[in-house]
């Protein structure tokens, strides 16, 4: 059976969920599934840990992801052939214990090109079918997908097909009516269109708390909820309600002395209330938050710093997150041509 090599055409694509869905579906089919990430980002790669736990892999994290290239990797080592050898050795080890391996490329296919380890240079070593995953936002996303398909073809990489990921409901229509014809006319196939789901892509309150630190004042039991948007609460209360009501699953960032805004946030579908400037809120605000089980995080930073830190938070699916695992599986089952993928692998 062939392996699957997932290549992302852009850094924002939540490829992990696709890889996870494919792995779970294959495992459901009774196969022993392995996971390999030849080139990963710097230290702290949660993806390798996730797959090790979900697939119950015996390999070390260094075997699952043997080569790590952070944003300044060239200052640290020169990889070249030696690194390639290490990658292939690790792959052999993974392959030995698996009937099929899901291989995930770095967030961008060009990563490690300086040392000859970009995505397409490795694929020939893995006996794998390549699937290109693209997050679709607008027409340029299609351009990007077609460009990478073309590029891979030029590099003699056979692309089994494309998965468009994290697709908003209105774009689904345009994909069917406009993007698919363009893609197929260019000679590439569309294997799936996966709808956007908040729980899969959006960071949770716990992840923001981890990044921000600070003091958790309420809602300790509800840290797993997703945060889809961030709203700065600096407006008058009358205009605030107008804005707050237009967003759900949001983080509201405001000063601890803005009891009015905090209370408005607590009644308008807020996932987390983040109070800046180290200003403790009135106890009545905390009581309201407790009553509604909404987390309140008090941070010492100003609003700008808080927002800046929050912007760097990325959601990582956890092995214990049953709901995300179920959604990942369902995405492949329901929104991709799973049988076609399976047949091709065989």
């Amino acid at each position: 059976m062939k392996n699957i090599y997932l290549v992302s055409s852009d850094g924002s694509s939540p490829k992990t969920a696709v890889a996870l869905g494919l792995a779970l579906k294959l495992r459901d089919g009774g196969l022993k599934v392995g996971f390999f990430k030849p080139v990963g980002p710097g230290p702290g790669d949660e993806e390798a840990s996730l797959f090790k736990e979900v697939l119950k892999l015996d390999h070390s994290l260094d075997t699952i992801c043997p080569c790590r290239v952070g944003p300044s990797y060239l200052s640290e080592f020169y990889a070249g052939d030696g690194e390639r050898g290490r990658i292939l050795q690790a792959y052999d080890e993974i392959k030995r214990n698996a009937e099929v391996v899901i291989i995930n490329s770095p967030p961008f296919p060009y990563i490690a090109a300086s040392v000859g380890l970009e995505a397409e240079s490795l694929v020939s070593s893995f006996d794998a079918l390549t699937i290109l995953v693209t997050k679709v936002e607008n027409d340029h996303s299609l351009d990007q997908a077609i460009y990478y398909n073309y590029h891979l073809r030029m590099r003699n990489v056979h692309v089994l097909g494309n998965i468009f990921d994290d697709v908003s409901p209105p774009l689904a229509v345009k994909i069917e009516e406009t993007y698919r014809p363009f893609l197929e006319k260019a000679g590439y196939s569309l294997l799936g269109v996966i709808p956007a789901r908040v729980g899969i892509t959006s960071p949770t309150v716990a992840e923001y708390y981890e990044a921000l630190g600070g003091e958790l004042l309420a809602g300790q039991n509800n840290m797993g909820v997703a945060v889809e948007e961030m709203i700065i609460g600096a407006m008058t209360i009358e205009s605030a309600l107008n804005y707050l009501r237009r967003s759900i699953h949001k983080a509201v960032i405001t000063g601890g002395d803005r009891a009015d805004l905090a209370l408005a946030a607590l009644v308008t579908g807020t996932s987390v209330l983040i109070l800046t400037g180290g200003l403790y809120p009135d106890p009545k605000v905390i009581a309201q938050a407790e009553e509604r089980n909404i987390p309140v995080i008090l941070v010492g930073y100003d609003t700008y710093t808080t927002l800046d830190k929050m912007n760097h938070v990325i959601h990582h699916i956890k092995s214990s997150d049953e709901q995300s695992l179920a959604v990942a599986r369902l995405n492949i089952e329901k929104h991709c041509r799973w049988q076609d993928i399976l047949t091709s692998l065989r």
């Binding site: 607008n138 774009l171 209360i237 107008n242 237009r246 967003s247 009015d260 408005a264």
Partner: protein
């Protein structure tokens, strides 16, 4: 209105237990027992405390279970940690009402909130009503009973004062002695865990000793229940309310203080207006009004006569009359002849009547007699400055005599001075004639009476709005679908469909996801048309090139489609775009706005005014709450705006279709009432024509707080 006659025994108890009663005079539990005794309470007082044998000469009981009879009222003054258990003990012993003065509940945070919930649960379980916690207590001067820890007991009077602030209760009580003001009762609401301002207003309405109901509030607990009660009570007795937190900063302070999200101040003002409540802006005004209402009759009209002994104050008072929306009375011939005959030739015999600086009491008296008998005069104001020959005491007697002879006409005085006029001022206060230091307050107090007269003159509102043929299911279906997609904002086409389902003439709007679909649907609508980007997250579509009006053919449509998409995506590259909406281009009409926004306390607030670009510039908007709205209310809210001048036909323009406008506002109110999940609805602009109207841009946000 909910009948709360069961609260009679709260104010007229036969037995009062004091849990936490103490012999220590520094303790609240001692002060309350003393207050009960010194207030002249004739019922039985049961101190309760396991550590005391006797308090203030009364036998003390170890617990409520051991009381000889169930108390009508149990005042609880024990530490917060014991309060719930003691409340349970009292409730089990058959107490009808609990007055919990203990602090340490909701106002202190999470643990306090939990404790407060437990306290309420105990009361609910035993069918006991709860005043407080965290309150000063209550007083009734006519029972008499003082179940509070206040430092004194007020004089008997006709004013019921209900306050969310305990501090105000104490401050006003102390101040009342300095001006000789009496009260029928004082109620400190505290945290309002059970009994609220609404219960107290309803109860005061049934109290024979109370003539006017005064409230200080920071928020209203149950908006709609309050509206029901206030509508009914205000017809029987005037309700005057000082609501704090009118500014953004004040509202923030109020939120911090009460822990409740304050509704908008516009909603409060609108509620008061719709329910016949008189709103005071300051503490001074609250009590100035109270004084007038307690002692004066409601005038038959708004025409004020002013008598003064100096020109300047007369002019100041005249300015205030005009500013308050009152009218200066125009005297009848008989009055003018009489004044001419009885006043010195230099006097001004027209309103304001200047009796001159050398006026003694007899001249004031003559002028008063003439003016009070004039059928064109509804209310009188007498101004006095201390001149050499001024006779304050005798003049005050003349004023009192006139007031006694003509109880049908309110009469206020402004004795503008200090010690020189004090004798007259004191006498007027003693005899119940409202007297002020300056004319502004006097005019405001007369205006309060006139305002109440106007409220009483308006017939009881008609039938609530209802429209046949509204398609509830169609709206429900759209909202359900939008919710399912996790969107809080409806697309323009969806909002137009919602409006149409309720008979609101929204211009047909079609959503198209692709260019070809747009072209096809444009054929159905016909040219000229308007093209708008369909993206609910974009608030101001025009600002980002998301709207093109006046498209006359397919070629322009195709170009426009590309232009809109490119410009919007250039501004918001990550925004979700549903496609475009195309809408029939409508001929221009008078641009109006109709809106609805859900207030936290009172439900939907309906707005009407000048629309389009003028909305924010001129802020010509009037408001009404949708709850209980009648056709008459809608007509009145239109008349309150400058837009009404346009609607009637300004400078030769054709008049707009007023009936269609009233109908549309009414339908909006019914729509948002039927679907409370509509948080905001905005139709801007509405084009009003000579025949009918067109709702061009409908925006709807849904939420479920």
């Amino acid at each position: 209105m909910q009948h709360v006659s069961d609260l009679v025994s709260l104010f007229q108890p036969k037995t009062v237990a004091v849990a936490g009663a103490s012999r220590n005079p520094a303790k609240i539990g001692n002060i309350i027992v003393k207050n009960l005794i010194t207030s002249g309470f004739t019922g039985r007082i049961y101190p309760v405390n396991p550590r005391e044998q006797e308090v203030e000469g009364l036998s003390c009981y170890p617990d409520a279970a051991g009381l000889p009879q169930p108390p009508d009222v149990a005042v609880i003054a024990v530490p917060a940690a014991q309060a719930v258990a003691v409340a349970d003990d009292c409730a089990r012993a058959g107490a009808k009402h609990l007055v919990v003065v203990t602090a340490g509940f909701r106002e202190t945070g999470t643990d306090g909130l939990r404790r407060e919930k437990e306290l309420v649960a105990v009361c609910r379980q035993h069918g006991v009503r709860l005043l407080g916690p965290n309150c000063v207590g209550l007083m009734d001067t006519h029972t008499p009973v003082n179940a509070s820890f206040a430092g004194s007991f007020p004089a008997k009077g006709k004013i019921a004062f209900i306050s969310q602030s305990g501090a105000f209760v104490l401050a006003i009580l102390d101040w009342s002695f300095s001006i000789g003001l009496g009260f029928s009762r004082f109620v400190s609401l505290g945290n309002k865990a059970d009994l609220s301002e609404t219960d107290m207003i309803v109860e005061a309405a049934g109290d024979e000793q109370t003539k006017v109901i005064l409230c200080y509030i920071e928020d209203i607990a149950e908006g709609r229940r309050f509206m029901d009660a206030a509508r009914e009570v205000s017809r029987k007795k005037p309700i005057i309310i000082l609501k704090s937190g009118t500014s953004s900063e004040g509202a923030r302070a109020a939120s911090s203080h009460t822990g409740a999200l304050a509704g908008s101040d516009i909603a409060y003002s609108t509620c008061f207006k719709q329910c016949g409540v008189i709103r005071a802006d300051t503490m001074a005004e609250l009590f100035d009004l109270a004084l007038s209402f307690a002692e004066q009759t409601i005038p038959g009209g708004e025409r004020v006569a002013i008598i003064t002994n100096s020109g300047g104050p007369g002019i100041v008072a005249t300015d205030r009359v005009a500013k308050n929306g009152l009218k200066m009375a125009r005297f009848n011939t008989q009055t003018i002849d009489g004044l001419r005959r009885s006043m010195p030739p230099e006097s001004n015999i027209y309103n304001p009547v200047d009796v001159l600086g050398d006026a003694r009491a007899d001249r004031y008296g003559k002028a008063l007699d003439l003016l009070v008998s004039d059928g064109n005069v509804d209310a009188l104001l007498l101004l006095m400055c201390p001149a050499a020959v001024t006779e304050p005491l005798e003049t005050a007697r003349a004023v009192i005599a006139t007031a006694r002879r003509h109880p049908d006409k309110p009469l206020a005085a402004a004795f503008m001075g200090g010690p020189q006029l004090a004798s007259g001022t004191e006498l007027l206060k003693k005899e119940g004639v409202p007297v002020f230091t300056f004319p502004e307050a006097a005019i405001r107090s007369l205006n309060g009476l006139v305002e109440y007269g106007r409220i009483m003159a308006v017939p009881v509102s008609g039938e609530p709005l209802a429209y046949a043929g509204v398609e509830r299911d169609a709206v429900r279906e759209i909202i359900t679908r939008v919710r399912k997609e996790g969107r809080p904002v409806l697309l323009g086409s969806e909002a137009a469909n919602v409006a149409n389902a309720y008979g609101i003439a929204a211009v047909p709007t079609l959503l198209a996801t692709t260019l070809e679909e747009t072209v096809k649907k444009a054929g159905r609508i016909g040219y000229p048309l308007v093209l708008k980007v369909a993206s609910p997250k974009i608030l101001h579509k025009t600002d980002v090139g998301g709207v093109i009006a006046g498209i006359t053919d397919e070629d322009e449509l195709r170009k426009g489609y590309g232009a809109v998409m490119n410009q919007v995506l250039a501004h918001f590259p990550h925004n979700v775009i549903y496609g475009v909406e195309i809408q029939k281009m409508m001929p221009a009409g008078n641009e109006l706005i109709i809106g609805a926004t859900r207030d936290i306390q009172f439900g939907h607030l309906i707005a009407f005014g000048l629309g389009g670009i003028y909305t924010n510039l001129l802020r010509d908007v009037s408001f009404r709450l949708a709850y209980g709205l009648t056709r008459g209310d809608v007509e009145q809210m239109i008349r309150e705006t400058k837009a009404y001048t346009l609607v009637r036909g300004y400078r030769g323009q054709e008049a707009g279709d007023l009936a269609a406008l009233v109908d549309t506002i009414g339908r909006v109110a019914v729509l948002v009432t039927d679907f409370p999940e509509i948080a905001d609805l905005d139709i801007n602009p509405v084009f009003l024509y000579a025949q009918g109207l067109a709702a061009l841009d409908v925006k709807i946000t849904i939420s479920t707080e």
